[in-house]
């Protein structure tokens, strides 16, 4: 596994597992993750992960994970793949 795959695996686990991720999208600097159950997210663990620059609640079921523009594309693809979504499936 490369750095993106290991980071995605850590983030998916902190988000409550692949089964808790309903949708993953990305914008310029953020992963936009829609969740089945917001309560299953480990907020403290996400905030403490060095790749996570910030954590924002967009609404009751969607969180934005700020990771920076240099890595967001590849990391989003890796998270999508591990969550069972997107072209990697």
């Amino acid at each position: 596994m490369d750095r993106y795959e290991t980071t995605a695996a850590a983030l998916v686990a902190l988000l409550g597992g692949a089964g808790n991720i309903a949708e993953v999208a990305s914008c310029v600097t953020r992963l936009r993750v829609t969740l089945a159950d917001r309560a299953r997210v480990d907020d403290g663990g996400l905030r403490a992960h060095p790749a996570v620059l910030g954590l924002i609640d967009a609404d009751v079921s969607q969180v934005h994970i700020v990771v920076g523009p240099a890595v967001v594309g590849r990391l989003a693809a890796a998270v999508m793949s591990q969550a069972g979504q997107g072209p990697g499936v």
Partner: protein, 146 residues
Amino acid sequence: MAGGRPGGNDERVAHQLPGTGTTLRLLAALVSDPPAAGEAEPWAGRLRTLAAEIGGYLAKAGACSAETVPLQVLLGWRTRLDEALVALQESAPEEWAEWRLPGTWLDGLLRFRSIVSHVVGKAYWDEAEQVAYGDIDVARYLWGAR
């Protein structure tokens, strides 16, 4: 005319990274000048303690001529700042709204947290265990390249 007009494109100067001393001085300035003791307590207490600890670390780094800081130290600062800032936002929303305005002590801490977070992220992807103070371009981050 050789050299072109003053200030024109011919005189563009490459931005240079700061020295260790400059970075330490600017980082320390961002976490200094808390509200007076007894004022605005208890909401500022947790942040005051953490800011003093960070300021002390930076002062010691300067005194020891340290050139680098461990990634884990930076990550620890960021994590504890996040915890204290979230606690403040939830426990004292009025003070939070007032004291996060530009130029306040809280504004300085938020900028410090943002800089550290970006440095931690870059070091993580670079798989670096140490960050050189001279690579932390505080002025460029705060004010852009000039």
